[in-house]
Symmetry: C2
Subunit: 436 residues, 2 copies
């Protein structure tokens, strides 16, 4: 049992009844995540890694992770030991999850389709894996081996040739065996025990030990987020901007209060800044969910984190299904759970969300781990413009064209006309010389 002292009796979460939908954007505004104050200290570490390579990595690993490392790369013997050490139930779970994730992501591979836009003008595009990618797996309170699967599997399907994984070591210099096991199952071999800003710098610039990459993926704390943002302005691509994790649940009278409470808490336990919102048309559900939250919360080891995040969370009571859907599309949640009578129909109307969970038996944690969809998703409203990680994130779609002599004749006058009118005579020549 947690020894946490509950500072509340029954009402846990702020409840707003029948808000004006026009004001919902303001009402649900996320706390601003201001990385400006992290800019200078983060830049200082990045510059040091850029200039001093492995020496800087060693220095910061001693400073932040409290371990003095001779070698960053994880050896084959360590992978072997991890495999031996891990309990077989967890191994089986990782294998089953990996299988589902592989099945879902394999269908995302795009096959080139040649299109003759005019006779003799053949155009197509081909997905080609980004050559060198870097995956960051944070340390901290939980070993995120599930994220190894979520990033490693699409990278492999995409055909990336060089996949580097960085993750911080513990005070003995070790990596959690489940991370090593998951990595090996996915086919990743280049793992480095480096974390934080220094890991992002190592992958962005390259050091003697750690190769430079073209794109960096993965979650992290505010410093890692700031470092990714900074290197993204220095020629390295990143997966997406990051913010605290979030869930919105839409629920009506068919929702089960126990399930709803569990879903809200499973988001809230991620950390004190997690965003949790319940939107319902069914007023009695509110107190039922609140009661269930209170009961479930008492049994949670991470109750303090969860409770902190719940105090910033909200319950909205709205008039009808249309308002529920409108609120979801305005908020653009990372995870959207729809526990309503007409859940599937409502899901059709979702415009802004990272991933949608339909009906009473689709908890967010299914997608977090094992159903097959990716759990690296846009937060902080970025679902309005970003997709979650998929095979797409690990490829470039290169376009190709081959024109025959007939093709250039068919298209030539058009190109010449347009080039002329844009004042680009040499563009015109490139066509007219070929038609002559």
């Amino acid at each position: 049992m947690s020894t946490f002292n509950f500072p509340f009796s029954t009402i846990l979460v702020k409840t707003i009844k029948y808000p004006n939908i026009a004001g919902v954007e303001q009402l649900l505004a996320r706390p601003a995540q201001n990385l400006d104050s992290l800019r200078e200290p983060t830049l200082a570490v990045l510059r040091d890694v850029c200039s001093n390579g492995d020496d800087a990595l060693r220095k910061y690993t001693l400073q932040f992770d409290r371990v003095d490392l001779a070698d960053f790369k994880v050896s084959a013997a360590e992978f072997d030991a991890a495999e031996e050490m891990l309990c077989s139930d967890l191994k089986q779970a990782i294998l089953l999850a990996a299988g589902n994730i592989r099945k879902f992501h394999s269908a995302q591979k795009e096959h080139a389709q040649k299109i003759e836009t005019m006779p003799g003008v053949l155009c197509w595009r081909k997905s080609v894996g980004i050559e060198r990618v870097g995956l960051y797996i944070p340390g901290g309170s939980a070993p995120l081996f599930s994220t190894v699967l979520m990033l490693g599997i699409p990278a492999k399907i995409a055909g990336c040739r060089q996949i580097t994984l960085c993750t911080p070591p513990d005070k003995q210099g070790n990596i959690h065996p489940a991370i090593l096991y998951a990595a090996r199952q996915v086919g990743l071999t280049d793992l480095y025990r480096v974390g934080g800003i220094q890991a992002i710098g190592a992958m962005a610039f390259g050091t003697k030990s750690i190769p430079k990459v073209d794109k960096i993926f993965g979650p992290g704390n505010a410093y890692v987020t700031a470092a990714k943002q900074l290197v993204s302005n220095m020629g390295v691509a990143i997966d997406m901007p990051a913010g605290p994790s979030e869930v919105m649940v839409l629920a009506d009278e068919i929702a089960n209060p126990q399930f709803v409470a569990a879903d809200l808490l499973s988001q809230a336990e991620h950390g004190p800044d997690s965003q949790v919102v319940l939107v319902t048309t069914h007023e009695p559900l509110i107190s039922q969910v609140e009661q269930a939250i209170e009961e479930q919360l008492r049994a949670l080891p991470r109750a303090d984190l969860a409770n902190k995040s719940l105090t910033d969370s909200q319950i909205l009571l709205v008039k009808n299904d249309d308002e529920m859907l409108a609120v979801a599309n305005i908020y653009a949640p990372e995870h959207l759970i729809i526990s309503t009578e007409n859940a599937e129909q409502m899901a059709e109307g979702v415009i802004n969300a990272g991933s949608v969970f339909i009906g009473n038996y689709s908890p967010e944690s299914a997608g977090d781990y094992a159903s097959g969809t990716n759990h690296a998703l846009p937060t902080a409203g970025y679902a309005r413009s970003f997709s979650g990680v998929s095979v797409d994130s690990f490829v470039r779609k290169i376009t190709f064209q081959k024109l025959s002599q007939e093709g250039i004749r068919n298209i030539g006058a058009t190109v010449a006309q347009m080039a002329d009118n844009e004042g680009l005579q040499a563009h015109r020549n490139a066509v007219t010389f070929r038609i002559k």
Copy 2:
């Protein structure tokens, strides 16, 4: 004829014979584009637009575009007038190009495919257009109506609901009729005569006249590029980082020196910082191309721009086809033209490029205008990690899942096991409560 005084006799471009391939990355290093010095002045304009909205737009439009505007939005009457004014040859050309671009991009629409990863676990993803997008079309020396097609057509195919286009006015406050005509053909109606940093700010923050958008697309000068980079750290997505345009031509004995020269010049005329590289295995081609460049250059109205960019360009003589391809993949050019005997086979080996043009009859200008592929492509080596603009750029791929009771039972133990081992008890509960 240009009155430009040629500062060279025969050798125009720096030629390097048989370089060590390991040193090619260094050899072809692009001049660094340092936007740091633009950060503060650009931020100042952005902040002003954020605080003062239309008043700031009016102020900067007077200051930079030399016109005092009462209204930013282009009226229906102006669209009508443009259509009347434009010569029918150009109209036809725009229509033909638009048709090809539409045909090529329509095939990029992804259709949802439901995948049952385990019995009762149904997952799928659906492409949904970004609700609010902003297109920026630069002014300057040429009216880039082709870019209106290249951005507007995929935005429409993607199903974006609100498409805003900003482009700077001339000193009379007008927009070039070809831009208006192209916009109307594509189905764009919300055009605003605002350019530069202030246009990017208007679309990023919204003003009374110009609505806020979620993602901003389009080329621009260094200030526009800096503004896009800055707002991309403030919650608005952008298409890709931008740099000077570039072409690499791979050529052997089957290449036509006139065509190669025209292709190099059609890139060079874009501006003094355009990057132009010829890689060949056929030494005699070098002097032939140089001679053709000199002849063609004399007849070009933009000879001064083209010549400036040529002096920074390079010709590489390499040993064989493998080296040619290796150089292309190291450089990662925006445009890659392959004029070789085995061009199609060589194209198969391309890993890093924005768009590839195969054979003697596929000039870059075909793709710039009318073949159907997109001309908004990654420059500055970003082809290593970014794709060009496509329908993908205008959608989010939202994932969905629906588990049945059988599904949650099939997956439950796995989720519980993994959640336990990541120390996330509430994640476990969300599943176990549903299985009970």
